[in-house]
């Protein structure tokens, strides 16, 4: 017990790294998802193809392969040099982006086309209608699935320990092999993940209640 308390600050340092990576990955991932979803919904064929190919490739390959490709593969090219944190954030962002893309696309398509027609008939442009009418309604509808994907991406960050990022898991590994307290340390790491994810889902249901779809 005392040993766990002794290593806890060290593990919590790792939590900071995990949260930092998660925060930026989700923001970039969401932007990637939004842009590729809109690309998929335009009438410009090449944009549709690019977006669909992106989603297919990411969904069709394991996260770990994407991570190795970006960190080891891209870094082996002469003109690219990514540090581990950047590579880690990029991988989680791109991976989450593909899933967000599908969530956002489905959310937008679920809004009745009468909404678009009503706004356009008033003289609003396509992009004004998207911003004021379609996206606000779509986001409310998407929120549960967005939360779900965010939780998956949060857990995916644990795989970044493989490329040496000093997150909770990496620090857990170091401590476990130093102290041999595998049971206590991995239990603690698990509890930390569980608490953060539980807080995330509380936040999400709070937001959902604030913005109930009327």
């Amino acid at each position: 017990m005392e040993t766990i308390i002794a290593v806890l600050p060290y593990l919590m340092q790792g939590l900071k790294v995990t949260l930092y990576i998660f925060f930026f990955s989700i923001i970039f991932g969401f932007l990637i998802g939004l842009v590729t979803a809109l690309m998929r919904l335009t009438h410009i064929k090449p944009l549709n193809w690019i977006s669909k190919a992106f989603v297919d490739v990411i969904r069709g390959t394991p996260f770990i392969v994407q991570l190795f490709f970006i960190y080891f593969g891209l870094n082996s090219l002469e003109f690219i040099s990514l540090d581990r944190t950047v590579a880690g954030i990029l991988t989680v962002a791109v991976n989450a982006g593909a899933y967000f893309s599908e969530i956002i696309r489905a959310g937008i398509q679920s809004i009745d086309k009468g909404q678009m027609e009503a706004a356009r008939s008033l003289g609003l442009t396509q992009s004004q209608t998207m911003r004021s009418i379609v996206l606000p309604q779509a986001f409310r509808r998407m929120l549960p699935t967005i939360t779900n994907q965010s939780i998956i991406s949060f857990k995916d960050t644990s795989l970044l320990s493989i490329i040496g990022i000093a997150d909770i898991v990496q620090r857990g590994k170091i401590q476990a092999s130093a102290t041999f307290m595998h049971f206590e340390i991995w239990l603690t790491v698990g509890i930390i993940y569980f608490v953060i994810i539980y807080l995330l889902s509380l936040l999400s249901s709070f937001i959902e209640r604030r913005f109930v779809l009327r």
């Binding site: 009745d112 027609e117 009503a118 008033l122 003289g123 004021s132 409310r140 779809l213 009327r214």
Partner: protein, 242 residues
């Protein structure tokens, strides 16, 4: 003055030709009711007038501007053409007042206080002053449709298009909506109304157009069209609905 001129309008969905050579002129302050069996193309015709449907061939001239001309800014033209839908299509995430204020705010039609004042006047006009702060989900169908009319009027349109505005309503509230439309007609609004309300067409319409199979089969003043239809297809339709 001619408000709407439709020349050789054709509309196809893929292989299916829904409108086959429509020609009609509508004057300022005129109320034209369009009747006909379902699938006759009457809703599609209406939706071509503000280009919610892409026009396959022919010309639609609104207030002197040819909307089939790709150089025309369709959004500008739509500001002058209000539309009311069968399914209301209110914005569920906004209050009634926000619904009415949205377009004038987004399109810079004055400052917020004057737009709000106007919106409240329009809600009073449709009899819904007390509903300004509620969300559409809390309204009945008849109330929703009256909000939708107020929303369209907020842009000060010169023309109002009604696409079966009472078809989705419970019978007991149809009268409330028709009363608002009748009031608009009396004030001189140019209106095209696709409807199954033969009573309304007869009483409020200046002219009635009967469509079938993608054509205008017959058009006349209501007394003549209802009382003395010339075409066999008109007679057959009227005998079923009257």
């Amino acid at each position: 003055m001619t408000m709407i001129q439709v020349r050789n309008l054709k509309k196809s969905f893929g292989e299916l030709e829904v409108l086959k050579d429509i020609n009609v002129e509508i004057q300022e302050r005129e109320v034209v009711c369009v009747i006909g069996p379902s699938g006759s193309g009457k809703s599609t015709f209406l939706r071509c007038l503000n280009r919610l449907e892409d026009i396959t061939d022919g010309h639609v001239v609104i207030n002197g501007q040819d909307i089939t001309d790709s150089k025309q800014d369709i959004n500008k033209i739509r500001e002058n053409v209000g539309m009311v839908f069968q399914q209301f299509n209110l914005f569920p995430h906004m209050t009634v007042l926000q619904n009415v204020m949205l377009a004038p705010m987004k399109l810079g039609k004055g400052d917020k206080s004057s737009i709000e004042k106007k919106a409240l006047e329009l809600l009073a006009k449709v009899g819904l002053s007390d509903k300004a702060k509620v969300y559409p989900g809390e309204l009945s169908g008849g109330q929703k449709q009256r909000v939708a009319i107020a929303r369209a009027l907020a842009m000060d349109p010169k023309i109002m298009l009604f696409d079966e505005p009472t078809s989705a309503l419970d019978p007991e509230v149809v009268g409330d909506v028709l009363a608002v439309m009748k009031q608009l007609a009396l004030e001189g609004m140019t209106m095209i109304v696709v409807t199954h309300e033969m009573g309304f067409a007869r009483e409020v319409g200046d002219r009635v157009i009967f469509m079938d199979g993608g054509f205008i089969v017959e058009e006349n003043v209501p007394e003549e069209l209802f009382g003395n239809p010339k075409e066999v297809r008109t007679q057959a339709f009227l005998s079923k609905v009257l």
